[in-house]
Symmetry: C2
Subunit: 282 residues, 2 copies
């Protein structure tokens, strides 16, 4: 049984960082020390965070001083830039984890600053189109699937994985490249589609309140944060492009079939999609 | 104040027809007579429908005999084929309405069989990926937007519109061509996209349970009935194709921008989509 972390430092207090802070406080009360720094100019000393944070910091190095676990909960680009400053103030035995939607670049950056096996990447599948502290909840991780990307030592990996599981996440270990490829298909491609659909309807002058329930589902992700997603999509471009190509070929075949009135091709498309949903136990 | 209909005949007892039957029975009790015939081989005399239907019929003509309102609640192709048989048994003063997701072809068919202004087209926006009697509910139309397509007489239109409003629908009048064009963009294009996404993920061997909440929203419509949708998409192809072309151009531009690492174009895409969702009061 590994020792629980006693002082958690958060870099970022948005939907994910804020939910970690709220969950830890709700679960561990005064047993846990929580410090934070945010890269977006929000002052963690403000009344907004009263009762949740123990202390706020003027810099990333200050925030992590004394912490035995640091959670990078800012957009992945900011995390990569901040890593050298985080390492500056870090205890020699502290672990670092993160929540980024892609894992190859952050793992490389962690290796580059010498974190080695003390960095244990994580990606909880509970992001949404909502963002910021206001959207944070103390039960966000309950039952949420969470990828763990180990960079070395089993001891550190097990300790960080157990910490995420304590927050309610259902963990699964995966390597960084396999993670990024899977995300390209199941998360990044759907995001591009939702935004493309929203932008296309906007161009056509059709407001969202004209959509039925199905169209609303299809455009919910349109509200996602461009700040977060532009960088994510570009960084994962090498594995995202083959996914987009496969989808665009499907759409091209569908459009050609509609143009020539080919019911067989359209029926096959709808049937394959339906059969696929039927394989889902949920 | 127009006279309420006293005997409603349903052609089809799926999600929509079944929900009409359940709603009428719940609201009007024994004051209303409900008869039905289904084109899919389900016997309306079976125990399944006990307590909801007054009588079942061996043919469409039998079902509509004596009815003052007939609701065509089968797939649009079946409705068009059935119309001559429906007219056969129809009272001279009866009105006919329908629920098809496209309106030009059914209005043309109604004119062709001589229904004239006695046909008042309708399209409730409350279909879903679920289908069949098992999915029917007595509150399906509560608050549901519903298009009314008038073919002539204001008296018949007002009477049928009031009947739909009684079921809880929020009606809006529109002409058939405008309706079909709008549906191509806000309903049929999203359906094609959801099915293309589901089929693409199926081809890649990724099960639906690997998706996060956003990906699940994006593929919920994948479960839609091919029987219903293939015909609908092909019949509305002339106005659906320009919508699909606009979407495919958006996707092509996004893929090209990702390939060359152009953050500006991706940020614009995500931003336009987000701004569009913010215009939605819901």
């Amino acid at each position: 049984m590994s020792e629980p972390f006693r002082h958690v430092a958060l870099i970022g207090l948005g939907l994910i960082g804020g939910s970690i802070a709220r969950s830890l406080r709700a679960m561990r009360g005064t047993e846990i020390r929580i410090t934070a720094w945010t890269p977006d100019g929000v002052d963690p000393r403000s009344a907004l965070f009263a009762g949740v944070l123990d202390d706020a910091a003027a810099s990333p190095a200050d925030a992590v001083a004394g912490a035995d676990l640091v959670v990078l909960a800012a957009p992945v680009g900011a995390c990569i830039e901040l890593l050298p400053h985080v390492v500056e103030g870090l205890r020699a035995d502290a672990c670092v984890t993160d929540v980024a939607g892609i894992k190859r670049s952050i793992c490389r950056a962690a290796t580059d600053v010498g974190l080695g096996s003390r960095f244990v990447g994580a990606h909880p599948l509970c992001g949404s189109e909502r963002s910021g502290w206001a959207a944070a909840r103390d039960d966000l991780f309950q039952g949420a699937p969470l990828f763990i990307v180990a960079c070395g030592s089993d001891t550190n990996t097990a300790r960080v994985e157990a910490w995420w599981a304590d927050l309610g996440a259902v963990t699964r270990r995966v390597d960084a490249a396999a993670h990024d490829t899977e995300m390209a298909w199941v998360s990044h491609m759907p995001q591009v589609l939702a935004s493309a659909l929203g932008a296309t309807l906007a161009d056509a002058g059709l407001l969202r309140n004209r959509l039925g329930p199905g169209g609303r589902d299809m455009t919910r992700l349109s509200a996602s944060s461009p700040d977060l997603w532009t960088d994510l999509l570009l960084r994962n471009g090498d594995v995202l492009l083959p996914a987009l190509t496969a989808l665009r070929e499907r759409l091209a075949r569908a459009a050609a079939a509609i143009e020539r009135g080919d019911a067989g091709v359209i029926d096959d498309l709808l049937q394959s999609a339906r059969t696929w949903t039927e394989s889902d136990p949920a």
